[in-house]
Amino acid sequence: MIYALTDPAAGMKGISAFIVERGLPGFTIGTVDHKLGIRSSNTVELLLKDVHIPATSLLGKEGEGMKIAMKTLDMARPAIAALSVGLAQRALDECVKHVQKTFVGKTYPGQTLQFKLADMQILVDAARNSLHEAMHLRDAGLPYSKESAISKTFCSDVAMQVTTTAVSLMGSYGYTSELGKFMRDSKIMQIYEGTNQIQRLVISRAVLAPPPAAAAQKAGK
């Protein structure tokens, strides 16, 4: 799926979406990007020079690219939320295993550690619930853009927080284990499919939408 400007003068409404197959003449792969995390998911530059595609490769209508991208992102964001919940849950599981192993046969240490684990569980559960809410709305055919953005933002923030806490809670064990990878992987969840700052713009617009009366009045004009 490649988005290209078809009418530069029209700005956002001048973007169209195309399905472009690999191997077409003029279509090459540029630099491969080495990243902090999600390293086995490759990120590359796509270079297109005089690539000819038939009109049937157009997805939707000309100029609808941005609309398609936005609708697709509504769906893609909960997927990032789900990735994040998985990362956070695994980090928590590893912490629990570590604590149980370290203190085998002894009483668990102080409340600071216990509460940290409790906080991680609270966040992971709340994150999963926010994801389920967004998906429930979608399955019911109801609007879910706001909830989709909320779940992406909250779940990825939770993943970052929980994996960071996990590394520090497990100390040198965290730093020399897979936990570090979970922390590195979590960072991109807050960045891609729209940074969490962009999500907050989306959410705040929904929150600050004109009250129903004003909206009705405007529609009446």
Binding site: H34, T112, T164, G171, S172, T176, G180, R184, I188
Partner: protein, 375 residues
């Protein structure tokens, strides 16, 4: 209260900055990739007197004081935190010898440590919840020949490169009492395990060390017998202040990089630095960095003046366990998808800062000391 560094302290800090720019900046990326011990850089550190900063002048050190020392660590960390970590672990071993060693022990090790001929290591952690408790705890048994050590120390930094280790072993299991020993790397029965894969700070080696019937003379006891816990607590508190300087160095370099990036990255038709959300991220990191620096300088001054510093050291540690990693999480956020790429410097700093703010062991919480100190 005077927050101004003396001219000498500023000069030492600046010379560390110049050194880091010349010797560390060019190797930082490669070091992060290979993880090989940076021998050349360590030799250069020795040549420029950065390995004996706290060691008295008559023993070959620079005797620069702890405030200058943290200035050096912050400035080295701006360019390469892994090398700063090597210096920190070396210095903390030298600090222990300087503070608890006999005149003979000081004469034997400190001049060589100041010159960089002997690197120091500090071996306190074990795989059990606390030293002396686990199945492979390091135990020292007193015999006619001196002491015989058996067991394992975990996550020793500078492992395999150090010439002398400050090693803590259980000498009275009933009391749970530890004693500090000076163990030379070539003592028979000392085996450095495989270098551990770490998330960051690559180039500062970390490994477990196994002790198999290691015989050491009684003259190798550091400080009093069964007083090891007090020695390790104080040395680790000193180390945590230096580690705070490491964090601040990384954080400061990161926020300066992110601010410069935000000024040239254009979105919505203007540099992202003009957006409030970005300004907030940058401002919070800069604030945390500034406050952390004040806190650690305060603790450093107390250490330098020989005053009680443990609570202030615990406070800065607690502060940075909460906010240290956040400095990189937020600056990475400013640089977005581009900043996530390894051709940018923040990913390396992200991994390095996570390794600098670790709790030492589960159950070890600086907050305990702080809470007890509130009168």
């Amino acid at each position: 209260m005077n927050f101004e560094l003396t001219e000498e302290q500023q000069l030492i800090g600046q010379s560390a900055r110049d050194f880091a720019k010349e010797y560390l900046e060019p190797i930082a990326v490669e070091l992060d990739h290979t993880g090989d011990f940076p021998k050349k850089a360590v030799n250069a550190l020795a040549k420029h007197d950065f390995l004996g900063l706290l060691i008295p002048g008559d023993l070959g050190g620079a005797e620069a004081g702890f405030v200058s020392y943290v200035e050096v660590i912050e400035n080295l960390s701006r360019y390469c935190a892994a090398v700063a970590s090597i210096v920190n672990n070396h210095t903390i071993a030298a600090y222990a010898i300087q503070n608890w060693g006999t005149a003979e022990q000081k004469k034997k090790y400190l001049p060589g440590m100041a010159k960089g001929e002997i690197l120091g290591g500090f071996a306190i952690f074990e795989h059990g919840p606390t030293p002396g408790v686990g199945a492979d705890a390091l135990v020292a048994i007193k015999q006619d020949v001196g002491y015989v050590l058996n067991g394992k120390k975990a996550f020793v930094r500078n492992a395999g490169e150090a010439g002398v280790y400050v090693v803590f072993a259980t000498t009275d299991p009933a009391l749970g009492a530890l004693t500090a020993f000076l163990v030379e790397a070539d003592a028979i029965g000392v085996k450095v395990g495989e270098k551990l894969e770490t998330m960051g700070l690559k180039g500062c080696p970390v490994a477990d060390i196994t002790f198999e019937n290691v015989v050491i003379p009684e003259t190798a006891v550091l400080g009093a017998v069964n007083e090891g816990t007090a020695i390790s607590a104080k040395a680790l508190a000193v180390a945590s202040v230096a580690e705070a300087a490491q964090t601040v160095g990384i954080g400061q370099a990161a926020v300066e990089h992110a601010a410069a990036y935000a000024k040239q990255r254009v979105q919505f038709g203007k540099p992202v630095a003009t957006l409030q959300a970005i300004q907030t991220l940058l401002a919070e990191v800069a604030t945390d960095c500034h406050l952390a620096r004040l806190g650690l300088q305060n603790a450093a001054l107390l250490i330098e003046e020989g005053k009680p510093f443990e609570v202030e050291a615990a406070m800065i540690k607690s502060f940075l366990v909460r906010l240290g990693s956040k400095m990189l999480l937020d600056t990475c956020q400013v640089e977005g998808g581009f900043g996530y790429s390894e051709f940018m410097p923040l990913p390396r700093m992200f991994r390095d800062i996570a390794g600098t703010n670790l709790l030492d062991a589960p159950g070890d919480f600086p907050e305990k000391l702080i809470a007890a100190s509130i009168a």
